[in-house]
Symmetry: D2
Subunit: 333 residues, 4 copies
């Protein structure tokens, strides 16, 4: 199986979902190896690089893409299987950007208080040990943390001619910022426009659930993925399948609305997977779901609703595509 | 180590935190084995028992307690270590109560739609296999699920002379409905009144995160716990420690406010545990927290914020009390 | 018509709804003239009196009451008609209390930012001109504003044995902080306990909608009111009638839930007033309601939903009690 | 003063802000008389026309525009003064669209309940009496209501290359659905792209605050407006001035965040108008603002924060443009 390499120039970065000409065309079944810059476009390289001075907020969260998927039409389902994610630099960066993040007033949670101090943390990567190192700024504590790569942003062009900032998580995917978007996972997205026009970006060397300060260990990433297309069957909201879980992602505000969306989407999926009546799916899921918050910092908040496969009878989604993709992925590693 | 057995009569059930005379007095260090009825006071025993007919909503979520802890004064910290939780009946019950739950309009999320159908599910317990069985009502699917006992409700009397329904999760604990409140966990609560006046109840044989339909596999429970008291040090919001995690629980509406509370409380705790400046704690926790939603159905919503100990340098809270309680608990099993 | 004068001592102040012995008993039909202290118990008298130094937050929002209404039983409707409200001091006070208010992080909207500067404003009252004077602290601007007296807090004892802080607005009324609670208005509250046990307090010489900074022009108040009782007919949420509007008050978080509650309660009331089907009431009210926010700062947020009588066919509520009370009130002035 | 007439064909309707070629170019100072279709594109003409059958939800809320304003650059301020709004048809329509509106579950407030019944109401216009007539569907009540024309949607192209549905209220204006957008008002919007690219639409013959059911008395409208441009001075969020009030409009979710945005924007404006320190503006506005909810049904909720000019010392905004526009408007009537 061949792998197509894609490394965009800065001029090719996309900062929106929709509204951008395709970076390339792919046939379903294609494997891609795409390089994506970090959310700051690489502007934060040392702790004295402050976001207020170095980061142009009009150009953050650059996407690699969009890719036009041949044959994809509205109502179809795009499947992106993540084979591998490899840090593409030897450091990651995180920042407390003034008036951005979960534990500060923001442009949306508008208060009159002063901002938190603009602060940058740099995490050195140790490839041998597969760790990044947190270094406290105010004391001498230093902690090695396992690298756990993921993509903050995976999405397609929105419907209705909308064009949305790459900072937004929505029905079309986007900046969901969930650690579940990691190697081994297959993400299913409803196609809204011809060619689907998907893109990926916002690599995180690791991230806590909630992404409390608004930024993860942001890092350039090399992602290997396989693109597949299912005719029809478009889910209303993003679904993720991995070897252990059925998952959905809801994004909205307030956070309970994000959760409701995800929970209802999983009720809907369980209707398809097990023929369950909505009331029975509601009941069953009430007793088994795991619900890790994804982000409480983006333009919409995101919650993931998960059901563990090992608790459930065997079932397959989208014709068993995930298992098939796992097999294909094994040939690439 | 002796264990004091407590089995209340129906007349002794408490339905509030505060406002109730103590059921008993305990000295710090005491081990209790308390029986608690299920959230429905046992009224739902078969699927034809509908909540609208059988459950008196003025008498739900009965608590066993309150217990007066000798020497406890406002500003102190009550520690409750859960040694064991054993289902006290051979079945649990769950229900879609009309206008109650997360995926329906409620008295708070007021809409004009008809209620969902009043439905009861009964879960038979298999003690040998340690499972409860979900039985679909509309198809013939049946699924055995592991028993995973927890207490929905653990709390003390609130401050300021308030008396709160046992359905409410708040700063004083209460109906947090988190699966983290399970055997092996130590819950730390700030004491607001002399004697602390804690109570426990709302046993769940298992529960999904979010408790989507509003009720878990509700069941009478026998809980063994050890009561301890730390002079001073009262946390602002409930904290939980177990062998693997430092945890806090925030409860409010909307759900992002519950999360903010929990996240800030854990920032505060990390200041105590590691001497971290709040900005450093904010950053570190942004990269490591796990944030399972607890409930999105109660009078306040609850979110748990967790930090995995294995990622962190060794530290002890409250003088290492949790480890000590684990040792003492081992002598009881 | 006689008027019973009530001036409590500090020891008689109530700081909760429920949980307090009656200050007095009244027969339906009684007129009361009650003095209430300001929300700070008079502690802020000059701009150098800072809330963090002078105000004991355990003793704020003192209520005058509760009053036991003879014959009142659960399910009945208490009517309080406000005849007159007169400032009882020559100054009012307002403050930006640290971590309290709408445009700052709070204990509920938990952030890590520094508080806004603790600041007190004193408003001198000019009885002849009926104004209070805003005096800027940072420039020399000074503005006379009309006195527009209202009560922030009107409520009864809650159901279920609960006792709630006088800072809380809820189904039982309480700290709704709406400028609609002014002379000429009749407030209808469902009775939850024998005797209703209502109290009033939190006089404002004026207040903007939203009460943005968390405190109005707080002032001691002398309020003349008539107490009436309707057997049965308890509304689920507070209703207010004046000469121009039918009104309901919803209180919850997030603010849209407060609004939903108020809007649904007015749909319900319009069913009673005009025999309208809920869908027709929903439609009609969609085209005519006025919805002034009451507060976005208290333990629950409050929204008022109003329908202007002059747009509507004549109708009477509770047997035309409001008009009758207006006539009786005229004899008192 | 000349008036340019604009009546678009259906093919010229715009359904987004941004992403559409200009319908025309205007010089600052130009007066326009624009026709706009109703939110349903005229599809609901009788009560048996149900939204689920007749309305294509991809084509709702058509805008007339966008107009390219000569000389407008990012950072400038667009002023639109509304001279007159005249119903362009003899009837208006309103509907309870399934899963849309404030008192029902929606795609965002996701529940499992059945939808409310799809229902259409037609309001006949009586031009002589200037009324529209509500006709109940389930009883024989019929009520004439004053016509009070307004535009639900006024906005410019968003920044950052975004394209947003005309259903969205945001920083760029859009579907704010406030009754304050009526003849006599001047709306100030920050310019994000060259030419500003503003459009208007969504005429309402009248609307209650909150727009509870999701639709007003929707009607085709002929709007006369004057377009002006101020170099620089772009407000962060929409501002409205009329003869009696200074106003701001915040739009977000949850509703308290929309309010916070509006309240902070008015604090900012009062800094410009009166040289007030933010703490003094916060205090003063806390005592005088009127806060009518605009909508609780759109993609973002909107709240209006108003300060009455008659309470305040004289001040002028944007060089006294509103008064000047009022004078110019008088020559058009």
């Amino acid at each position: 199986m061949d792998v197509v390499e894609v490394v965009p120039t800065f001029e090719q970065y996309a900062f929106t979902f929709g509204g951008v000409a395709p970076l390339g065309r792919v046939r379903p079944g294609t494997a891609l190896r795409v390089w994506s810059d970090d959310a700051f476009c690489g502007a934060l390289q040392k702790t004295t690089d402050l976001s207020s001075e170095k980061v142009d907020l009009r150009f953050v969260n650059p996407q690699t893409g969009p890719f036009y998927v041949e044959g994809a039409e509205p109502g179809d389902t795009l499947a992106l299987h993540f084979v591998a994610m490899t840090p593409a630099r030897d450091w990651g960066a995180s920042a407390a950007i003034p008036f951005f993040g979960g534990l500060t007033g923001t442009d949306r949670v508008a208060t009159l208080q002063d901002p938190l101090p603009d602060t940058t943390w740099i995490y050195e990567l140790d490839r041998a040990r597969n760790t990044v190192t947190f270094v406290a700024q105010h004391t001498d504590l230093q902690i090695d943390l396992p690298v756990s790569p993921m993509l903050g942003t995976v999405g397609v062009a929105p419907p209705g001619g909308e064009v949305r900032s790459s900072l937004v998580p929505e029905r079309f995917g986007g900046n969901m910022d969930t650690p579940q978007m990691r190697p081994g996972a297959t993400c299913f997205l409803g196609v809204n426009v011809e060619g689907a026009l998907f893109s990926v970006g916002d690599g995180h060397y690791r991230q806590g659930e909630g992404e409390a300060c608004g930024t993860a260990v942001e890092g350039a990433m090399t992602t290997t993925l396989i693109v597949e297309l299912i005719k029809g069957g478009a889910p209303l909201w993003p679904r993720i399948e991995d070897d252990t879980h059925w998952m959905t992602v809801g994004s909205s505000r307030p956070l309970e609305d994000a959760w409701r969306i995800g929970q209802v989407e999983l009720v809907r999926w369980f209707g398809e997977l097990y023929g369950l009546h909505p009331m029975d799916a509601y009941q069953l899921l009430s007793q088994i779901t795991e619900v890790p918050i994804a982000n409480v910092v983006d333009a919409n908040y995101s919650a993931v609703v998960k059901a563990r496969k090992s608790l459930l009878p065997p079932a397959t989604a989208f014709g068993g595509l995930h298992d098939d993709l796992r097999r294909r992925a094994a040939t690439l590693l």
